[in-house]
């Protein structure tokens, strides 16, 4: 580490007595205040402001239509077009999850199941949404493309238990995802 010696700027008398900058500051903050009150803040239009500042008034106003394609909401499990649960409980998401929100209990698929050849699926799959930080690492790491971050952002509950999404809830949020992995089809 190189040592960098900083040269403090030389201030002239006007700058030294500080009042000029102070009054300039008052003007700046007051300009913002007035603009806010008039609903003319910078970026108010793009952000669909409610008319005061740049803020959108939730929940009357929703930003659903403003959500970008890449928005990272609640993580969820998906099934493929044949209704097979894509997750094979490899537990890579459990491993990568930075806040350790995911808990998986793996199990073997019984031999009478149509997808018995896949051999493995999760018996329990729980994501603790209190812990989840919506980082999307689970989606990125999934080798089966079974877990996706959906656009759901209103994850609420009255109890801690409500905030733990179990397998059923995760498939409910996730729905079906078509295409991508064809590894387990007869074509393989």
């Amino acid at each position: 580490m190189a040592v960098v010696k900083l040269q403090r700027p030389k201030l002239n008398f006007g700058e030294k007595i500080y009042f000029g900058a102070l009054i300039k500051g008052f003007f700046l903050t007051m300009t913002h205040a007035v603009k806010t009150l008039r609903g003319k803040s910078v970026g108010a239009d793009e952000l669909a402001s409610s008319g005061l500042g740049v803020t959108m008034q939730f929940p009357e106003q929703r930003w659903d239509e403003h959500l970008p394609e890449y928005y990272r909401g609640a993580p969820a499990l998906v099934t493929d077009e044949q209704g097979r649960e894509r997750c094979v409980s490899c537990q890579l998401c459990e491993f990568i999850c930075p806040p350790k929100a995911i808990k998986i209990v793996p199990s073997e698929i019984p031999s009478d199941d149509p997808w018995a050849k896949v051999e493995k699926r999760p018996l329990e799959f729980e994501i603790d949404m209190i812990r989840c930080i919506y980082c999307g690492m689970c989606e990125e790491v999934c080798p089966e493309q079974a877990i996706y971050l959906r656009k759901d952002y209103l994850i609420t509950g009255l109890k801690r238990a409500d905030m733990v999404h179990d397998k059923k809830k995760l498939y409910e949020i996730g729905g079906t995802r078509v295409g991508l992995v064809n590894k387990w089809n007869e074509l393989k």
Partner: protein, 585 residues
Amino acid sequence: MSDTPSATAELKLPKDQATEKGLVNVQIDGVWHQFPKGTRMIEACRQAQVIVPHYCYHPKLSSPGNCRMCLVQMGMPPRPTPGQEPQRDENGYEIIGWIPRPVIACANTIGENMGIRTTGELVEKCREGVMEFLLINHPLDCPICDQAGECRLQEQSVQHGRGVSRFVDMKVKKPKNVEIGPRIRLDDERCIMCSRCIRFMDEVAGDPVLGFTQRGAHTTLTVHPDRLLDSNYSLNTADICPVGALTSNDFRFQMRVWFLKETPSIDVNCGTGTNITIWTRENKIHRITPRLNDEVNSAWMPDSHRLNFHYIDGEARLTEPLVKSGSRHLPETWAQALASAAAEIKAIPAAQTAIIASGRMTNEELFLTRALAAEIGTSQLALVPRLAEADALLIAADRNPNTTGAKLVLGVEEPYWKLNSIRDGVRNGSIKSLIVLGDDLITDADFTAEDLGKLDFLLQTSVLANPTAEQAHIVLPSAAFAEKRGSMVNLAGRLQRLNRAVEPQGQAHDDWEILRDLILALSGGKNEVYHIEDVFKALAENVSAFNGLTLSKIGHQGAQIADTGYQIPLLANERARKAAGLING
């Protein structure tokens, strides 16, 4: 160089000292080393800290050389024409002429002035090619494969593979999910035909039931018709399988290996004291695998011992102190249970009190048992013998893991002989109070419930609920082998260490703490022992065989402290095969 008399100059060179010691000079990746004659090239590389990637080679098995992964470039000095002096460099080594085609390192032995290159374009291209061939028919189902995370194919594909498949045709279909034995599942598509399992069953387990059928890309591993892979050593094949072709039914789909914490410890199911690794996650044991120790168990262990850990968090586990009131046992606090135990023991004369300890206790616990006997003032102290049939490999007839330790710590030649007199004493009423540490008298020591019913006081410490505990007035829950730290001496006189892999279940206490607290409750003294290390220190000061040792000095490979003359049969086999040059490790 030509000026100096070459004979005297060469004698001083390091290379020439090798011959005197029976070693040969080998150059590995440009550096000269000396190895004993007859060493395999791959083993020489390993000793020189250069790992040659391999699948089929295993130091404890013969080398058929069928995976071709360990290809290296070899070189020897060119043979001089008659009358010509070989060319030498300034250190006296002959100039190596490199052979343009690779050789396998696992099946070739080293020779004088040999050169080995484990890197370079030729070697790396070869490895890449071998990897590509191996992966052609491999299903790539790593997400569901239990081997993922400890799979050689995965690791070496990352290190030496090309990353992208050029194979466009259909993969060969083979049987999947085949039950070839009661404890082993086979997935033939994942198999890379290294034949390690076949060789293990043939050479070590002595039960050659596995073999290949078909040819070429359709080669299939299978079990002999009408036979199953039901040897008591079958799970070792899953350990040595470099891919996920053979997996353990017990561990199948339980947990990914990268979550598991490894704790080195020893097996307590027989006197051999097999070295093991306990794999745990969040206070739960998921599997046990053998740990390499050339003085005890080589690299193997019997299935029966390996799978004997499910009781630790099973239904029968005792998790809180119990005190009998009427015909039922009620939960009690530790302090209360120990206090009432001490009061009961004091109420009965020492001459009518006996202690039955267990050969499954650690040296430290036995030492404290001795102290307990001294505190009570009784000389009636015996262990329960547990004998069963030995196999010709690792399982010893003596199923107590610490008989030798008990002999040393208690200072007696035969720690079991007083058991009969205690049993008679209980039957004829001369013994009124009995302290049973860890063993089940009714199942293992020919006591009957009726005998135990005659006692005024019966205290038992136990891991699991059992018929003796049913009769006991106070039952104290103790720790299982994976929950404690301590030391044991195996039948061959090797002092080995147990390590705590998981915390005791519920309110169960470590045995040595129970004994300490019981002694303190009896004597009313103040506790001065907080660590198992302190107990071992006291043991080392009092028992000559342990002099100068501490728990940490024992190390993971153990320390030989006594010579009992006992031979572990598997080691004898292995040494014979090594002497015959069949194996290298």
